[in-house]
Symmetry: C2
Subunit: 341 residues, 2 copies
């Protein structure tokens, strides 16, 4: 493997054409209305059905293909697993948007905002079927694909449990950092760990080593999510594609908020600003941000992200990979966590 | 196989204890809130979490187990597939209820009415993961389980396409009987055909014969759905567990309505009654029922159900099964289609 001369983003992008073609084949064009909705979600067409180029970064499938290479197999061996995990990620986005009533993502209307909640639920379910089918319909190695399917579905169950908590936490003001970490391990960690474990399994790695690589990915996911929480308040909306008042307006229990609720100086001010029903107004959102900065919630987030990244690095070291592979994966983790967007 | 001495309901019920235990194992108790929601949907507990006995008839998994027996294998060989298909059926019910805003099913509050739409979407997604896992985590025959998973996911995609059409048709007054049949083949036929095909595959049947048995089930599904449409208007709500004004109030394009829209004498009256937004009121629903009876939509439904049942019977004959198996399956089809509820 000569990828270690490439930068992290270049490594993540190097199989992009192969991946995108496989994703398009997996979605297909039938049944027409569902395939069309799925193609919009995947970024290949606009709301009017015209060709578009709005695809996301495809980080999860890139990790899956990379894991196969780390274990000595061609990336193509893990392609059905990579396709499956990206389709699952998009299914989860579509359902999340319905659940959170988000009307925009990355400057485009969300699917339910275009088609209604009922059809967006259908489109999400459809993406899930196509994810499973990418693995059931691939050729060869029934045993590896079956194991990868098992890993994927357990990860989806954890992801949904995290999403459940995320919604349930909106009504609570006693969420602890431990509660938060369990939620985030599901909502974000599960679907960053799974592609690595699946890619390793598709390459023929033994189950314990594949699982260990998955654990590293899940830990990187924690750091990634904490950074995302930070950017959700202090990021540049033109870069992140998300409003930086949403999380506070909807009473999301992000790490900065949990940090702020844990400080007597800011707790009452946050609770007062978020009291009542409906979205919190812009002026009160600004009050909350000011309170969070007073208790250095922004700095606490960066510290947590660093701590999780360090712990991921220790997990990676314990895998005993060759130096090139170790350094490559470490660089990718740093790139994912340190991203400005 | 000595089942031919049993009546159809007895045949469908004979593995009930084994099935129910396997369904409970598949759901498990973790993650707690999702498992609890799933246990409510499956009928094992009430809204307060107390034990209950509200399970449905489990027709689809019973057909799956029966298919294995018809192809000479013990029912237990198809148990993971039977569990998967019943969990998928329940996932689809939970999402349908959100989409249709149904607040009750079989005299119990629907899940979203208890927990909100967001968590009901999560619970449906969770049931889907457990369905796939029932097949990925079973022992032996990776190849058979992988084929059954492929059949199941293609059926789910068709079911979702049918559900998409069902929602889209609410806004249309030009739905033809052919449109209706394509919708119903997905919404109902796919998940009655799939368990039979999967059961046969789990028993080691060759793919073409398994698919032929599935086609028979899908055709029985058409007859079943037409009968369901009939009962949705003229059935006894205390028996069906569904209000017999719902379909008309929500402008569902059921076969009686499509029949009525096709007759000049009733078309204008139906359109006038269903004009405007929101649910159609009780008085206007009664007007529509009167118009439908004038043009004998009730009788047309019974005739269609009979025609589809006859066509299913011809498909069954062409399978060339031994006489006992043929008669058993024919009796089951009649039982399903002729049910009063």
């Amino acid at each position: 493997m000569s990828s270690s001369v490439l930068s992290a983003p270049a490594v993540l992008a190097k199989h992009r054409a192969m991946l995108e073609a496989a994703l398009e084949r997996a979605i297909g064009h039938e049944p027409a209305p569902l395939a069309s909705a799925a193609r919009y979600v995947m970024g290949w067409q606009d709301a009017a059905g015209r060709p578009a180029a709005n695809a996301g970064k495809r980080i999860r499938p890139a990790l899956c293909l990379l894991a196969a290479e780390v274990f000595g197999a061609p990336a193509a061996d893990a392609l059905p697993a990579a396709v499956a995990v990206e389709l699952v990620h998009n299914f989860s986005l579509v359902h999340d948007e319905v659940q959170d009533h988000d009307t925009e993502r990355h400057h485009r209307p969300t699917l339910w905002a275009l088609l209604g909640e009922g059809q967006a639920i259908n489109a999400g379910d459809f993406l899930y079927t196509r994810a499973i089918q990418a693995l059931t319909d691939a050729a060869g190695h029934d045993d590896r694909r079956m194991r990868a399917l098992g890993v994927l579905n357990r990860a989806i169950a954890r992801m949904i449990a995290g999403q459940w908590d995320d919604i349930a936490f909106e009504q609570r003001t006693d969420v602890t950092v431990d509660d938060y970490l369990a939620m985030v391990a599901g909502k974000t960690g599960a679907l960053l760990g799974a592609p690595l474990e699946m890619g390793a399994l598709m390459a023929g790695a033994d189950a314990p080593r594949a699982a260990a690589l998955g654990l590293w990915g899940a830990q990187v996911g924690l750091a990634f999510q904490v950074q995302d929480d930070y950017l959700g308040i202090w990021g540049d909306p033109t870069q992140t594609g998300k409003s930086n008042s949403n999380d506070i307006a909807r009473r999301k229990k992000t790490l900065p908020i949990i940090h702020g609720l844990g400080h007597p100086a800011s707790r009452d001010a946050i609770l007062a600003a978020q009291a009542g029903a409906g979205d919190v107004g812009a002026e009160k959102v600004a009050d909350v941000v000011r309170e969070l900065e007073q208790v250095q919630a922004d700095r606490a987030c960066r510290d947590y992200a660093r701590a999780f990244a360090d712990s991921a690095d220790q997990l990676l070291e314990s895998l005993g990979l060759p130096a090139d592979e170790y350094e490559l994966l470490r660089d990718i983790a740093r790139y994912l966590v340190d991203r400005a967007v």
